[in-house]
Amino acid sequence: MADPMRIRAQSSGSGATVRVLMAHEMETGLRKDAAGKTIPAWFIQQVSASLNGKPVLSAQWGPSVAKNPFLQFNIKGAKAGDKVAITWLDNKGDTRTDEATVS
C-alpha cells in the first residue's frame, strides 16, 4: 500500500493553488542494480484531480517525472471549504487517492 500524498490547497485570488507531493519511486526502467540487473520500470502513469467530485485535470506521465513527484496547478473559482481530490495510478496498477480541503 502506497504512502499517503501531501496535498495543500490554498485559496488565492479568485481560485485555489493546489500543491501535491506523491510518495513514489518513479523508477525509469533504465537503471541497473549493483548486480548489473535492470531495475524494472515502476512509475505513475495517470494522475487526475477533482474539485468537489468533478474532474478538473488529468495527466499522463512518463518515467522521467522525478521521484516523489510534485505537482502544482490552480483551480479557478475554488473557495475555502471545497474538496480537492487527487488520484494516481501507476504501471503496476497500484493506485492511491487522497483529499484535502481548500483553506
Partner: protein, 272 residues
C-alpha cells in the same frame, strides 16, 4: 635541489595570486545565482513532508514485540515531549548513562518501549526496513522543532568530554587522501563543485550545516538523517565505515551542534 623547487613555489604562488581570482569570482557568481534560483524553486514542495507525515504516524503506531507506540519516548525533555527536543540533541541521558544523538536515542526507545532490537536496526542498510522508519521518525522529530534555535546542553561533564572528543575527530586526518572533516568544513566561504561548504567550527548561520539536517536528498530521493550524512562524509573521506550511532558520530554531533548554538533549525531541509 629542494631550495630551488621552493623558489619555484614562490613564483607560482605570486603568479596565482595576481592573475586568476577576478575571473573566478565573475564566473562563480552567475553559476551561484543559477543554483540559488534552482534551490528556491524546490523549497516550495519539499518531499521531506512525506517522510515527516510517515514519521508522525509511526510515532503513534503500536509496533514491535511489545506492541507499543513511541509516545512515551523521552527525547531529553521528558517522556512524550517531541517539540523542542531536536535542538537540544545530542545530550546526556541518565537512564543509558550515555550522550546520545537523535538516532541513537530513537534506537533506545524502539528497544525499551517496543522491544525492537537496536543492534539489528543499527546493522540494517540505510533506507531498508526499520532504517527507512528511522529516517521518517528523524524527519518527524526534527520538524517538531522547526524554527527553534540550536541549544545543546553542555552542563554535564560527559557532554563537555564528547565536545572535546568530537573536536579531535573533526580534525583527524587519515585515509589515502589525507582528509579530515576540517579539510572541507574548517573555513568559511568554500565550495566543493558548486555546493557551499559550511564552516562547522563555528555557527555557520541559520538553517545551515547542523541546523539543516535531516534533509531530503534530491540526488537519492531519500530522507537522510545526520547519521547518514556523516556516513557519506566518511565514505567520501575514504575512511573505513563508521558504525551507525557509534560514539565518533555522536561526538561529532555534539561538536557541530554546540558550535551551531543559536542557529535556527530548518530541518528537515531539502538538499542536492
Amino acid at each position: 635541489m629542494s631550495a630551488w623547487r621552493r623558489e619555484g613555489l614562490r613564483v607560482a604562488l605570486a603568479l596565482a595570486l595576481a592573475g586568476v581570482s577576478a575571473t573566478a569570482a565573475a564566473q562563480g557568481k552567475s553559476a551561484a545565482d543559477g543554483i540559488a534560483e534552482y534551490r528556491k524553486m524546490l523549497e516550495d514542495g519539499n518531499p521531506a513532508d512525506l517522510f515527516e507525515a510517515k514519521g508522525e504516524s509511526l510515532w503513534t503506531t503500536k509496533r514491535g514485540p511489545k506492541n507499543a507506540s513511541l509516545e512515551a519516548c523521552d527525547l531529553g525533555k521528558g517522556p512524550g515531549v517531541v517539540k523542542g527536543a531536536f535542538v537540544e540533541l545530542p545530550r546526556w541521558f541518565a537512564d543509558t548513562q550515555r550522550v546520545q544523538d537523535l538516532e541513537s536515542r530513537l534506537l533506545t526507545c524502539m528497544e525499551t518501549l517496543q522491544g525492537l532490537k537496536a543492534a539489528e536496526i543499527a546493522a540494517t542498510p540505510f533506507g531498508r526496513g526499520e532504517q527507512a522508519n528511522m529516517e521518517a521518525l528523524a524527519a518527524y522529530v526534527s520538524a517538531a522543532s522547526r524554527g527553534q534555535r540550536m541549544n545543546l546542553p553542555q552542563a554535564h561533564l560527559q557532554e563537555k568530554v564528547m565536545y572535546e572528543v568530537g573536536k579531535r575527530a573533526f580534525y583527524f586526518r587519515g585515509g589515502p587522501m589525507d582528509f579530515a572533516c576540517a579539510t572541507c568544513h574548517g573555513e568559511p566561504g568554500k565550495r566543493v563543485r558548486l555546493q557551499d561548504l559550511p564552516d562547522l567550527t563555528k555557527n555557520p548561520g541559520d538553517g545551515i550545516g547542523f541546523a539543516a539536517w535531516p534533509a531530503y536528498r534530491v540526488s537519492s530521493g531519500e530522507l537522510w538523517s545526520m547519521q547518514r550524512r556523516l556516513n557519506d562524509c566518511y565514505r567520501q573521506q575514504r575512511f573505513p565505515y563508521p558504525g551507525y550511532a557509534s560514539d565518533v558520530t555522536i561526538a561529532l554531533g555534539v561538536y557541530m551542534g554546540v558550535n551551531a548554538k543559536g542557529a535556527e533549525s530548518i530541518a528537515p531541509a531539502i538538499k542536492r
